[in-house]
Symmetry: D2
Amino acid sequence: MKTDTQKLSFASDYLEGAHPAILERLQETNFLKTQGYGLDPFSESARQKIRAACKCPKAEIHFLTGGTQANATVIDALLNNYQGVLSSNQGHISVHEAGAIELGGHKVLALPNKEGKIDPAVLRQWLVDFENDANHDHMVFPGMVYISHPTEFGTLYTLRELEEISSICKSYNLPLYMDGARLAYGLACAGNDVMLPDIARLCDVFYIGGTKCGALFGEAVVITRSNLIPHFFTIVKQHGALLAKGRITGLQFDTLFTNDLYFRIGKTAIDASERIRTWLKENGYRFRYDSPTNQLFVIMDNDKLEKLGESVEYSFWEKYDDAHTVIRFATSWATADEDVDVLISTLHSI
Amino acid sequence: MKTDTQKLSFASDYLEGAHPAILERLQETNFLKTQGYGLDPFSESARQKIRAACKCPKAEIHFLTGGTQANATVIDALLNNYQGVLSSNQGHISVHEAGAIELGGHKVLALPNKEGKIDPAVLRQWLVDFENDANHDHMVFPGMVYISHPTEFGTLYTLRELEEISSICKSYNLPLYMDGARLAYGLACAGNDVMLPDIARLCDVFYIGGTKCGALFGEAVVITRSNLIPHFFTIVKQHGALLAKGRITGLQFDTLFTNDLYFRIGKTAIDASERIRTWLKENGYRFRYDSPTNQLFVIMDNDKLEKLGESVEYSFWEKYDDAHTVIRFATSWATADEDVDVLISTLHSI
Amino acid sequence: MKTDTQKLSFASDYLEGAHPAILERLQETNFLKTQGYGLDPFSESARQKIRAACKCPKAEIHFLTGGTQANATVIDALLNNYQGVLSSNQGHISVHEAGAIELGGHKVLALPNKEGKIDPAVLRQWLVDFENDANHDHMVFPGMVYISHPTEFGTLYTLRELEEISSICKSYNLPLYMDGARLAYGLACAGNDVMLPDIARLCDVFYIGGTKCGALFGEAVVITRSNLIPHFFTIVKQHGALLAKGRITGLQFDTLFTNDLYFRIGKTAIDASERIRTWLKENGYRFRYDSPTNQLFVIMDNDKLEKLGESVEYSFWEKYDDAHTVIRFATSWATADEDVDVLISTLHSI
Amino acid sequence: MKTDTQKLSFASDYLEGAHPAILERLQETNFLKTQGYGLDPFSESARQKIRAACKCPKAEIHFLTGGTQANATVIDALLNNYQGVLSSNQGHISVHEAGAIELGGHKVLALPNKEGKIDPAVLRQWLVDFENDANHDHMVFPGMVYISHPTEFGTLYTLRELEEISSICKSYNLPLYMDGARLAYGLACAGNDVMLPDIARLCDVFYIGGTKCGALFGEAVVITRSNLIPHFFTIVKQHGALLAKGRITGLQFDTLFTNDLYFRIGKTAIDASERIRTWLKENGYRFRYDSPTNQLFVIMDNDKLEKLGESVEYSFWEKYDDAHTVIRFATSWATADEDVDVLISTLHSI
């Protein structure tokens, strides 16, 4: 399925189109006429399936086209003007969204991270300090907490950590929002103990990532308490995030949540990354972060990199020291076993 | 291709999925690995074809996912904070975008419309009055002009009108921006004398609509002068409008601009609307607007409407008087000859 | 008190400094040390006096420095992002605040005006139409109503009109906000039946103008229901509207609300304008608006204007017809009887 | 001049009203009629004097009412949407302006600070790293540099440091903006080698603080290159920062820049702080920051604090360790010699 001229690539998890089942259904349903803006039967069916998977029958679900868009729209909808969003200082909204949150008028209140995660103790202390600061009326108020799961470094919150963060949020009346851009890859992880119903129970809003998990594009925003965000439809429209043919996104999620496809394709990526991880460990490689998901942050000798780059695409992550570089391999729903074979044999040879 | 249970519908021009050629190419290319964010060969190829079609070799082209998003992003990018955008008071940005322009901090300066269009003389007078107003430093400055073509009422600017507006804009140093959500249906019109190269020559920025013209979604924003908007890529990202798998939009436009598909599907819709228009005129129906494109705004007796509605879907437009209602029929790239046959025979029978 | 070189001026109502009682108290209190940001005893005393004058013991009161600032801050605080503010199309926020409301992300939803006022019937119909519009989820929602009293044209709402508007607002759950930039001049009017306690009872928020009514600067924002706007202090700070030495504004309002000064200086202006109005009427002049307050919009023969301008400053308002111009005379707390004498004798002589 | 009931206070530098010369001139000029919005002769005279003091004859000067307002307005005016402002992580805009910068849509890009200052080497490295970051098109672009002088910690840039920062800014085409809220106290410092003409030469925009330096309120924004910010008047209006009676601010600055008053009152504060500093040093006290200006950050034994607080007001700054606290003493233009005497004898006695 790969053309001859294409180099083996583990550069990211959105290199291909979509899972073939999605394209098939687009084909089958193409000439059906439906209402726009997500008011179609495919979107409605997808909502029902997601509610069931989350064991959250009253969830309100909207389909947006991308992660930055979902983050900016949800955060702007949840916050009052004078409030900011607490995030890891490495959170996607803090670093790699070109100021989308600030464009909405809100400060990203950055917390130090622990392997990409917010430490519940750090969060609690920040909130205590804010309350105690005599000048806090001159400062940006915390208005919500943003976490990503898996994080930007591929790490996962444990159920216990998530419960703790959720409980802190509740006691401070702060909505908890989870960015699940790579959620399929978290859910499929062997060691993961955070299931969709846990997320729905512990978060106020979260999104289930489609773009990086088998869809052409699309993220399913799940608002777990009804009426938490009145007129979210209009807010989505105002943010330029309302797809006219909402059915296209709805149908993709309907497909992903039929016969556990979302979980199965997560497993494909995780199995592939596990094979690579195992080989790397057995061969003495070290990792920058202890990521159990589909992203591997490997510390490589600089002199091996050029050789590797001749036949494999990877992501440059950061300089480690003068002799080493951190690179990232990402697997996905589309990673073939043979691709892993070739990667491993290439690594062997360099 | 239509399922048995579906009612005949002329309710809008985005009821179906995409032109089959697009789905075919999605299928063919699905497992190719490409870079994200529009830096892929499909997007690049689409850009080359659009540049050629516009005879504008230096045009900078970006693919966004929807019309409101394109409008909000372009307008925010072109304006300084203290500037607003001049628009017909019935312009899409003025009425039906949920405040997306104001969210970006800009006032929509509404001008009276003439069948949906801005009258060049009215525009010129407004600008003269603004200049002469002794208090204008306390007012929102005009920063650009927004027009839609076809307009929200299906009407078209003549080349002469467009040249006049463009010339006024140039003399006041105001960028001219055209919303081409239904551009295919304007270009295919018999009486139309505004061609793509004219638009590229006379506008500073415009977008070629995909969502309503054969694509699953997507609009091609064409910046006709290079470096008019520095860092537009980042601005797009900041507005949540950057698709990770940009190839999906790129490939759709590549398909639409291969073998004149964009023009041919426009023609399909125009031929269908022409048949309906002719029949309506011959049978004594009057029209609310003199639209030559794919939208027909028909004044109907209220007592015929219920009968019609039993077998045909249409859009309610507005109350005309106590006995009449304006309804809209929209044709599209997907309108079949047989659908028109059935509509006409239904109209006959009511 | 006027220097010899100064021309007689009725050009506006903020030509002078402040009422002498204010300067005296600034002098007396200058070296007292007080806390900043309005937490000082002068501000607190002013709040108590305003609460008493409004018969609104729970009112929350903040002192801002100007009208545009007060409007932008209050409106931004009251609205959600997807909401706009209903205003007369001639409202100050709609025309002469340089887009301050839009900078906050909100559309000004303009209603036709009747002598500068919103007609309750027009307001009600607009709201009914909005509710009935099938597409209203794609439109800016009404989130509050803005009125000015006196209006930009010097006219006044009757108590009955204000009650009707307030009742409509309540039934649609829309906060009602009154811009009282020239409130002193409304309250002092013979025919006025809207007293401060009425305003406090019928509006959710309003401001009592100081800048145009005897202060160096300053507007007292009165939030009539406690906790209507949580954290308004921080919102004021965020909008750059929190004066470090808040005592300066507080002390001015404390002075204006001591011994009815605010009402007495309003009377000075109204008496002066009444003398001018009477003379003009008796001498056959017509008025553009039927303003009972301190602004007179007189229709003048163009050939008299030049002569008048030699010795009197006035405001150009608008061209009336080829032979006439509308000009504005404004009186104020500082208008001396002798100034009125000279104006009248000048008018006589031209 | 202090009432009997008032406690000695070194809590901040804006406890009193204004320098008596300002009140006198307000009195003298009170009934002169002038045009609004800064178009009056007092403002014009102040501008001329400031241009002369800065040796910057083409400077464009606007008078705003407060520091947060000046910062938010200037920064919003200088930046494009996709740009942020580089600041020390302890900069006033980063911590204590309630999100005013973000409300304008901009991220504060926080750099580590060195005694409150930005280290030129750190700034340069940040810019190099940004340029080199392959993903920087997905990040907030640096659009300007914000420094405060004196800083929030009372420290001063040396001329050499300022020249270095200015030169970095120029080479990256980033406007340099200085917040001079306490500029009088920097200029009057013995060790200071940064004079007003240096600031005008090295910064693109800066403001000369009035609120904390002898005025009732007001900051003079100096744009050192003409046409750097087109339509700044309207931008000021849009930000709610345009005072109707602009003469009040203009006259204050006219007074402060007559006969070197601004420099003389700075000296008063500096002489007072120097006496306190000397005594503290001689008596073994340590300082949290090495501030040569009017703010002293003293590390105090906790058990002395209560005693001190009985007769002197100071600011709590931060906990130092379990036994010590950092407190701030601020002197000002209004600090009397006798107040310093009492403070020192009180410190002696505890």
